[in-house]
């Protein structure tokens, strides 16, 4: 099937590549596409059509049409005519029940019935109503193109890259290359993008194959380069997308063996394939004649060339067997052939320009739509701007609808001329509405091959001209794009703490919290929690947000941001703070340590760090106070040593006075820990005597190791996030975002003591006053289950009689208390110590008792010890 090697061909005939198609090995050359190699191996049927399951073969050979879509290495809907071969690729046909050659669903083509006319699903499937589930099941099984493996794992990595270009040229044809070169010679940075293969160009970065998906505001052009989505920002965009060859509409125009001229040219010139034995050409422009010449040269017999510009042809009918072309009848004259080249003229590929804001006008002289009013910053060059387009299309002289078979206007969606006429008869008199009703232009080719033919047909049926009918709106993406690519990794790097590798060595099970990787546990959450109560544990809390707030106004700044008081705070003391919005909602919480008169050290939640920094910076910009805010989150590591024996561990690491008098609860101290300058905060999120140590990140592992060594004799254990959650729940400490949502305020979240409403002003004060005035409605309370079953977080709180009145926000089994405990939002009337409510558990109801004070160490004696 291959022709002798010829100059300019894409093949490297010295290098063979083998892949499998439907289980059989196919040999190809480097430079082949999967499609060209299959064609060379004798394959003619490449797919089954969307609706009628008609056999389809190569049509455009340029990645425009849907005819060659197959599943390659598990990725469905790959256009194999444009997909380069690669060793061991696994290629399978799709949209087939059986094989491409024998597809059971081809009955829809033969029978028609209720499944085929346009809009059938709006009309047919609605009665009888009881049958809808059956209809739906069937429709779902046959609808759509390609199948995804529901149990498949990620096959490919996709990435997003942000790029800039002084000049971005889209299209690597003659005009595009010239424009690229000119700009490069003028010293500009130029990037050239093309969907196919492009030879290198001096001074120009070439991205090929790559598909420009659209032009957005700000000169944004996303380019699909297979595994990478480039988001190009271009100062200037040159659109040189050229033209798209248009098919002709006649019965049998979708048979296997009917092709567009450029597809034929590619098979011969790029891949050295003799496309057929005997060909007929029907054309309205030079492209058909050129194809005929190429075919002759390749040794193909030309049975006839019909140039519609010169000859008057009334009727064209293509006939085949099994969906494969056997002959063409032109005005009753039958010519047997295995290739029919149809050329309906070339339409400028204006979609990108139109998206960018250009107008599109019909040029009756040339019979095509031409883009005009090109917006600033964009240039259209070459044939997309109409350059070199001769008057190609005479008034359609032949009758496309002769009643001798289906005439396809849109091969993607299997829309025929009859469907369009039916839509017109039903009153869809606007092309935009008809598009939505018939789905013409809405398939994989995105109108490349069906937009102009549908407008022509519409114009003729409505007895209007094309200019009046107008075009439908061009929308991105211009080419289909895989969802994987759109979901590719953005530039939001994962974060690891300085102690990350030690956690892994200690067998930690890691989990995501925001962008952070943190130990969920070291394999024994309950045991880890218990060792904190029994002896001592250590947790890495480096992920906490950390800020230094410094300046003459810093105390006043914090007074205005937080509901608490700070002005009266002594240096080296610590306060718990909750940040509110002006609507009175809880945004974040953390601790604030006053280091000296003008300096505060503020911690935030791990995931809230960024938002709190923004919040601080913003109010500082608004108020213009004399305050500097420095984010030191990444620069400092932090660990919390907690448990009754924490003091003994700490004593081995530092010389300072750690007695309860020397460093009391909520005291801060600067000290050397294991030789590292640190800030010690005596706080206790987990309810036991605890020391939170903040120190420079580079010493993370060193300090961690020293603590574990020092604690060995006391049986110290590292603990993860999950044990910490058990411990904090025992203390009824809230987790912002877990126990609170965007409606929660501190009064109803049971922290009324934190809001000093007698202060002049603070963010959220007025709204909290309003809450107080209207009275508390739902309150956050603790609860314990009577029978020990742990309800799901999110479970409903139910009143007798099964009316939902609240919800569970946190729940755990406490190994220390031997109880199922949790927190829940309940109406104020129930929010009293000892009252009870029902909770949904395992489909039934279980009783829970309200607890308002911490389950563990309610008076904080252990914390203060």
């Amino acid at each position: 099937m291959r022709l002798p090697a010829r100059p300019g061909e894409r093949l490297n005939r010295d290098r063979e590549v083998t892949f499998t198609y439907d289980g059989n090995a196919v040999r190809a050359f480097e430079g082949d596409t999967i499609g060209s190699a299959l064609y060379a191996s004798g394959q003619r049927i490449f797919s089954r059509s969307f609706k009628y399951h008609r056999p389809r073969g190569l049509l455009c050979c340029s990645g425009s049409c849907p005819n060659c879509m197959m599943t390659v290495d598990g990725v469905p809907n790959v256009r194999v005519c444009a997909e380069p071969v690669r060793e061991n690729a696994v290629v399978r046909p799709q949209n087939v029940w059986g094989s491409l050659e024998r597809d059971a669903l081809v009955v829809t083509d033969k029978l028609g019935g209720p499944f085929t006319p346009v809009g059938f699903y709006y009309r047919t499937m609605i009665r009888p109503r009881w049958a809808w589930p059956l209809y739906e099941k069937f429709l779902r099984s046959v609808a759509g193109l390609g199948k995804l493996d529901k149990h498949g794992t990620r096959a490919n990595r996709y990435d997003v890259e942000h790029r800039r270009a002084r000049v971005l040229v889209i299209g690597g044809g003659r005009a595009g290359r010239e424009a690229a070169q000119q700009h490069a010679v003028a010293g500009m940075q130029v990037v050239l993008v093309d969907e196919g293969f492009v030879d290198p160009l001096e001074g120009v970065e070439v991205v090929a194959p790559g598909r420009a998906l659209g032009i957005w505001e700000g000169g944004l052009v996303p380019v699909d380069a297979g595994r990478v989505l480039y988001r190009f920002r271009a100062e200037k965009i040159v659109v040189a997308t050229g033209t798209i060859e248009q098919p002709l509409v006649f019965p049998g125009n979708d048979l296997v063996g009917v092709m567009l001229p450029d597809g034929v040219r590619r098979l011969i010139e790029d891949w050295g394939i003799k496309p057929a034995e005997k060909a007929v050409v029907v054309t309205v422009d030079e492209a058909g004649r050129e194809a005929a010449a190429s075919l002759r040269e390749a040794g193909v017999e030309i049975a006839g060339v019909y140039d519609l510009r010169r000859e008057r042809v009334r009727e064209i009918v293509a006939r085949g067997r099994g969906g494969v072309l056997r002959s063409v009848e032109v005005d009753g004259r039958k010519l047997s052939c295995d290739l029919l080249v149809m050329s309906g003229g070339r339409q400028p590929a204006y979609s990108l320009l139109s998206q960018a804001g250009a107008r599109v006008e019909y040029d009756p002289g040339r019979g095509v739509f031409i883009p005009t009013d090109i917006p600033e910053g964009i240039e259209a060059v070459g044939s997309v701007a109409g350059e070199g387009l001769a008057g190609a299309v005479p008034a359609a002289s032949y009758n496309g609808a002769s009643g001798k078979g289906k005439c396809f206007v849109c091969v993607c969606e299997d829309v025929t001329d009859k469907d369009l006429k039916r839509a017109i008869a039903e009153g869809f008199d606007s092309i935009e509405l008809a598009k939505r009703y018939t789905t013409v232009t809405m398939g994989p080719c995105q109108g490349r091959l069906c937009h102009v033919p549908s407008i022509r047909l519409y114009a003729r049926e409505n007895e209007k001209d094309e200019a009046t009918i107008g075009t439908t709106t061009a929308r991105p993406p211009w080419a289909p794009v895989t969802l994987g690519l759109l979901a590719g990794r953005p530039h939001e790097p994962a974060q690891r703490t300085a102690i990350h590798h030690r956690h892994k060595e200690l067998g930690a099970k890691m989990m995501w919290t925001g962008t952070w990787r943190r130990p969920h546990s070291y394999g024994d959450p309950e045991g880890e929690a218990q060792s904190v109560h029994a002896s001592v544990g250590v947790i890495d809390v480096s992920t906490l947000g950390k800020m230094i707030v410094r300046g003459p106004d810093s105390a006043q700044f914090l007074e205005r941001l937080y509901p608490n008081r700070f002005g009266d705070m002594k240096p080296m003391r610590i306060r718990y703070g909750v940040l509110n919005s002006d609507a009175g909602r809880i945004m974040d919480d953390g601790t604030i340590a006053r280091l000296d008169d003008e300096t505060f050290y503020v911690t935030t939640t791990s995931t809230g760090a960024g938002a709190v920094l923004e919040w601080f910076e913003w109010w500082n910009a608004v108020w213009g106070m004399d305050v500097e805010i420095v984010n030191v989150t990444g620069g400092l590591a932090a660990v919390n040593v907690a448990g009754p024996r924490a003091r003994e561990v700490m004593r081995k690491l530092t010389d300072i006075d750690l007695s309860n008098e020397g460093l009391a609860y909520l005291d801060a101290r600067e000290a050397q820990i294991a030789g590292v300058p640190s800030l010690i905060l005596r706080i206790g999120f987990v309810g036991e005597l605890g020391y939170e140590l903040h120190f420079p990140s580079p010493y993370g592992e060193h300090v961690w190791n020293e603590i574990l060594d020092a604690g060995e004799e006391f049986g110290i254990r590292p603990f993860g996030l999950e044990p910490q959650r058990i411990l904090r729940l025992e203390k009824m400490h809230i987790l912002v975002g877990q126990d609170t949502d965007s409606e929660s305020n501190v009064l109803e979240a049971n922290m009324p003591w934190i809001a000093k409403l007698d202060k002049d002003d603070f963010v959220g004060k007025w709204s909290l006053e309003q809450v107080q005035e209207r009275g508390l409605q739902d309150l956050l309370v603790g609860f314990e289950m009577e029978d020990g079953k742990v309800p799901l977080e999110g479970a409903q709180v139910v009143l007798e009689g099964t009316r939902p009145i609240g919800r569970i926000t946190s729940s755990r089994w406490s190994p220390e208390l031997r109880k199922a405990i949790g927190m829940a939002w309940v109406p104020a009337a129930i929010a009293e110590e000892g009252k009870s409510f029902l909770v949904t558990v395992d489909g039934g109801f279980e009783r829970a008792t309200v607890r308002l004070r911490p389950f563990f160490d309610p008076d904080g004696e252990k914390l203060r010890s």
């Binding site: 920002r233 759109l486 909602r585 945004m587 960024g610 910009a621 002003d761 007025w766």
Partner: protein, 104 residues
């Protein structure tokens, strides 16, 4: 949204580098009535036209500035870091919002 924003410090950058805190509003001076409070918190002018907004260069210099943007075209007419003296009242976004992720 895919337009460019001219950070007063860093120059034109992709809008995704910024977070937007919405239109500049005026925070009531002292104890507001319920009506004043709700209108400050919940009501926005939402103009079809040029609007003054707060923007934060999150993935850049971490500075808040104000921009005048035409909400119909996303054309940004000017950006500036506002000096405290000229800060008309105080704005109040409910929370620091993240711009919608772009389609691509």
């Amino acid at each position: 949204m895919s337009f460019l924003l001219d950070c007063p410090n860093c120059g034109p950058r992709d809008v995704n580098e910024f977070s937007c805190a919405g239109e500049v509003t005026v925070r009531p001076k002292e104890s507001p009535t319920l009506r004043e409070l709700t209108s400050y918190i919940y009501f926005r002018r939402n103009v079809a036209g040029v609007q003054r907004e707060w923007w934060y260069h999150r993935q850049g210099c971490e500075v808040w500035f104000q921009a005048e943007r035409d909400t119909r075209t996303n054309e940004v007419l000017r950006t500036e870091i506002v000096e405290p003296s000229s800060r008309a009242g105080t704005p109040g976004p409910e929370a620091v919002a993240t711009p919608d992720a772009p389609a691509v």
